[in-house]
């Protein structure tokens, strides 16, 4: 059972998808229930991972599985090589945790072609989980691309007015980046073969990380990986697909996109780009940190000026992920663990915000801030929940956002990025401005629009959706150690590995190695 826990977890949604595909098209409620049950089962399958104490002591990959997948003579060896460590643990848990919530949020929101939507959602879950556990770059690439297709259709079929534009933009942006990454993956592969990595290891990340790739090659390869991940994060200036995709996607799509898909980019840096190319990372840190800080400030300023709640939340994501990137590039334990924790936080609080926007939209069929006002009078429960989530998004002490942002800023301040940390701090203030201002205009004051007078407060289902998210907002806010202690060994190991490689390369003092080319002849 535990031998194949990860595979079971990853491919169970696929089984669920097949079941859904064979259900009758009209059985709307049945399809939703089956999908919900499947996602809950996946969550239960993954639950033992969260309670496994091995992550608190060991930085090694756990629950690993290995099988040869595609073997072609002496050409290629692709392996099914999966495993989980402290870096991917909480992201996997976040995925399995968010999915049932996202499905539950569609109960009334999705009414046309339910079958298609649920099948795609389950396919998406397989793609996301697979990408988080893949330890073989080829396998990772397959899952990475697999995620694109369902999200493309989710936005395109069930999205808002401008959905076609948003869907195509989302697909093209992500695909362009990943195609360049594919060339880089191939190059690293041939480099590793030439460097004597056993053929049988295939595209194994762990083995690639041990290569000593010359600095000038690292620059190019890192650029290809970083470009692909930067689009996905998204970092300024590659973020333009995000507001469109977020705004047009249906609520469940936005939640999944914000909570999990964006984390693929940041995860990609931590898992692949940084350990594979440590020296290039060193070169790129000032540049990428600069972009991260620009993203923080720019995202916050643009969010402030939005008149659509959903767009505001979308731009706030740009700002928040800027923090995550800054923490990662601090490359010390505080920064990295803050970055990792902030990924989870962002998943929870922004996921919750999109759900809240969805509740509003279902009631009024508009998301314009000007249409609302004084809602706290008629919807007290909703107002309370909204306020807590708002605080979490701002990063008020006692909520999860505070812990993450604090660690990131401390980490950045202690590293070479001190100036960036100072500038980034204003982002926290700006976050308070745009979130509170929005909250004030939507919830406080007198009800000016008569249409808002008879709005119903949250239903039991809606409260049930929000409660688990609130639980984790406070859990992480008050006792983050539950999460930090299980990611720290892996992160420490990563930092040590990267630092030692960087030091070696500095000691060699750039004796330019003779240009190493991949052989022309077989």
């Amino acid at each position: 059972m535990t031998d194949h826990l990860l595979s079971l977890m990853t491919f169970f949604p696929l089984v669920g998808m097949l079941i859904v595909l064979f259900l009758p098209r009209e059985a709307d409620r049945l399809i939703k229930t089956v999908t919900l049950v499947v996602t809950i089962i996946v969550f239960l399958i993954s639950l033992p991972l969260a309670f496994d104490d091995v992550f608190a002591t060991s930085s090694a990959m756990q629950y690993t599985e290995f099988a040869h997948w595609i073997s072609i003579g002496q050409y290629f060896q692709m392996n099914y090589n999966v495993g989980i460590d402290g870096i991917s643990l909480w992201l996997v848990m976040l995925t399995t945790f968010i999915m049932p919530i996202a499905i539950l949020s569609t109960w009334h929101a999705i009414d046309k072609n339910t079958k298609g939507f649920m099948a795609l959602a389950l396919l998406l879950e397989t793609g996301m989980l697979g990408a988080f556990i893949a330890l073989d770059l080829f396998l990772f690439y397959v899952f990475w691309e697999l995620m694109l297709v369902p999200m493309y259709f989710m936005i395109g079929i069930w999205g808002g007015k401008n959905r076609i534009y948003a869907a195509i933009k989302f697909f093209l942006f992500t695909a362009v980046g990943s195609l360049l990454m594919l060339v880089a993956i191939l190059y690293v592969y041939y480099y590793s073969i030439q460097a004597g990595v056993p053929f049988d290891n295939g595209f194994s990340v762990a083995h690639f990380a041990q290569l000593d790739i010359p600095a000038h090659l690292q620059t190019w390869l890192f650029a290809a990986f970083a470009f692909s991940f930067a689009i996905k994060v998204p970092m300024f200036p590659f973020h333009t697909w995000l507001p469109d995709a977020h705004t047009e996607a249906p609520t469940a799509g936005s939640v999944i996109l914000a909570a999990i898909l964006l984390k693929m980019g940041t995860y990609g840096y931590v898992r692949f780009a940084i350990p594979l190319f440590p020296e290039a990372t060193q070169q790129f840190i000032p540049f990428l940190s600069f972009l991260a800080v620009v993203g923080i400030i720019y995202g916050a300023l643009v969010a402030m000026m939005q008149d659509d709640v959903k767009k505001l939340v979308a731009y706030s994501s740009v700002s928040h992920l800027g923090f995550v990137m800054l923490g990662i590039f601090a490359l010390n334990l505080q920064g990295l663990s803050g970055g990792m924790l902030q990924m989870i936080n962002h998943g929870i609080s922004t996921g919750a915000l999109f759900l809240i926007v969805g509740f509003l939209y279902e009631r009024r069929h508009t998301r314009l801030i000007a249409e609302f006002g004084g809602l706290s009078k008629v919807m007290p429960v909703f107002a309370t929940i909204f306020l807590i989530v708002t605080f979490s998004s701002i990063g008020l002490p006692g909520t999860n956002g505070f812990v993450g942002e604090f660690l990131i800023l401390v980490g950045a301040f202690e590293s070479s990025l001190r100036v960036f940390a100072v500038v980034a701090t204003t982002g926290v203030i700006l976050a308070a401005v745009y979130m509170l201002w929005m909250f004030q205009r939507v919830m406080m004051g007198k009800i000016t629009n008569p249409k808002n007078e008879k709005l119903k407060d949250l239903s039991a289902r809606e409260v049930v959706i929000m409660l688990p998210l609130l639980l984790f907002i406070f859990w992480i806010g008050f006792y983050p150690n539950t999460f930090l202690e299980k990611m720290n060994p892996s992160l420490e190991n990563l930092i040590q590995q990267v630092k030692s490689k960087q030091q070696i390369s500095m000691m060699i003092d750039h004796v330019e190695p003779s240009t190493i080319r991949v052989a022309v002849n077989d």
Binding site: I70, S71, I72, G73, Y75, F76, N113, Y141, V142, E145, L146, L148, V149, Y152, F153, G156, I157, R163, I164, A167, I168, F171, L172, A175, V176, L179, L180, L182, V183, L186, Y187, Y189, Y190, R517, V518, A519, V520, N521, D522
Partner: protein
């Protein structure tokens, strides 16, 4: 004359031409049988030709790993030829499956159609197995002449006539180039046998820079580049593909294109290995031009057949990348890619066959609005084929592109691989747009389309299975492709 006959008869080895012999015999037998069938009865011809293809397939498979040479080394049924023969047989089989109801719908239930496909297939087989300029030329002509007729098969339709005539005129012209090239090479080397030419050129280094050799190489290449629709010799493709009957378009984009690649690659490897740096440089430029022209022009197309025509130009460009790489992975990548392309492209055309109304005026993007919801099976099938054409995992198209670009990276052509993947990115746009119309738009008219005949559905299902088989577990076929190259 007697002397020639003696030389040829010494080396009679029917095993070397068995598959094409079978296909030809079935074709000729079918012509005779057709005489006795009442007009408009085409069903028997479908089954007889399918049986012929299956029998030929069995002979190909049973001959794997046991190369046969014959007719004074004019023909070689080696693994390379066998792999390509399999591609032709699959392409022909899928085409025949989707043709019958289509011909009836369009008002041309004529059973001569099937022998012509068989003859074209036989011609393609000779091109793939020919080791003598003459055999290759003979195969090319047999294949092309059958295709000229097939392209113009709907004799009452202006578009089909245009396709036939255009293909014939330009094809004849390009054949002239090819023949001229062959003549020059013969003049230089004194032989028409590929292997002998190669050895002769290699032994006489001074000949390599001789204008006559280079002119011969260029003219030969032009002849083949025309057939594979590489830029700048692609101009005929959109018009011919759009005008020809849809199943024939599917066949042309898969079988004959693969045949041209087979002969082109064999000639380049056998005859001109001494000039490899020169012709890889030439193909580098042409591959880039072909990919860019095909992809960029495809963006502005609104007719699906025309769009797929331009996309097929682009796909020829990807395959040429494998030739530029000129290493094992690149070459076996081409073989794999041709097979993958056969499944995905013929599958896509099979969906078009069912989507079209009589006269096929509705094969525009606009005509596909809401298609995915009205015809769920066809919509999903088309989506799978389009994702495969894009090159997304886990489909055949991804595996194919992966090997070809891997070959390029391994050979050190990083920039070519980068240009190639960027071109893939461009192609995403026009493939995605088809899905936009199929799924993201409301249907704007009532769909009163033809029923779904079992044979066409069968061809679509086979194509889907092929796409996923080659995409998820490509190892086995890639292993065959590896054994197939020289």
């Amino acid at each position: 004359m007697e002397n020639l006959v003696q030389i040829a008869m010494q080396n009679v080895n029917f095993a070397a031409i068995m598959p094409s012999l079978i296909v030809t015999c079935f074709g000729m037998g079918l012509l005779l049988i057709n005489v006795f069938l009442p007009r408009g009865t085409t069903r028997p011809a479908v089954w007889i030709s399918l049986i012929g293809l299956v029998v030929a397939g069995i002979s190909v498979v049973s001959g794997w790993g046991n190369p046969q040479y014959g007719f004074n080394d004019a023909v070689a049924m080696d693994n390379y030829a066998a792999f390509f023969c399999m591609i032709f047989l699959i392409a022909a089989g899928l085409t025949i499956l989707m043709s019958d109801d289509y011909l009836t719908r369009e008002g041309y239930p004529v059973s001569e159609y099937y022998p012509l496909i068989l003859f074209a297939t036989a011609g393609a087989m000779w091109m793939a197995s020919g080791t003598d300029m003459m055999t290759i030329f003979l195969g090319l002509e047999v294949m092309s002449i059958s295709l000229y007729v097939l392209a113009g098969f709907f004799r009452g339709q202006v578009r089909s006539n245009e396709a036939g005539l255009k293909y014939f005129l330009l094809g004849a012209f390009s054949t002239g180039f090819l023949l001229y090239g062959m003549a020059l090479i013969y003049g230089v080397s004194g032989s028409t046998k590929l292997a002998e030419i190669g050895i002769y050129l290699n032994a006489h280094a001074s000949l390599l820079s001789n204008p006559m050799t280079l002119a011969g190489l260029v003219l030969l290449s032009i002849g083949f580049l025309f057939k594979i629709a590489a830029a700048p010799f692609h101009m005929w493709t959109p018009d011919v593909y759009e005008g020809a009957p849809t199943p024939i378009t599917a066949f042309m984009s898969a079988g004959p294109k693969a045949a041209a690649f087979a002969a082109f690659l064999r000639i380049m490897e056998y005859c001109f290995f001494s000039l490899k740096p020169e012709w890889t440089m030439m193909l580098w430029v042409l591959a880039v031009a072909t990919m860019i022209i095909g992809n960029v022009i495809a963006i502005s197309q609104t007719n699906l057949k025309r769009m797929l025509a331009y996309s097929s130009i682009a796909h020829a460009g990807y395959a040429m990348v494998g030739m530029v790489a000129a290493n094992e992975i690149g070459y076996s990548g081409i073989l794999f890619y041709m097979l993958a392309y056969t499944f995905m492209n013929v599958g896509a055309f099979a969906v078009l066959v069912l989507a079209g109304k009589k006269g096929e005026d509705n094969l525009t993007l606009e005509g596909f609005s809401g298609f995915g919801f009205k015809r769920p099976f066809l919509g999903v099938a088309m989506t799978i084929f389009l994702f495969s054409l894009m090159g997304l995992p886990p489909t055949a198209g991804f595996a194919g592109k992966f090997y070809i670009f891997a070959g390029a990276v391994k050979a050190g052509y990083i920039w070519l691989a980068v240009i190639g993947v960027l071109n893939s990115a461009v192609s995403l746009y026009y493939y995605l747009r088809v899905m936009v119309y199929m799924y993201f738009r409301e249907p704007n008219e009532d769909f009163a389309w033809v029923a779904m005949p079992a044979t066409v559905v069968l061809s679509i299902v086979i194509a889907i299975l092929g796409v996923f088989y080659l995409g998820i577990i490509p190892g086995e076929v890639m292993e065959f492709a590896k054994q197939a190259i020289f």
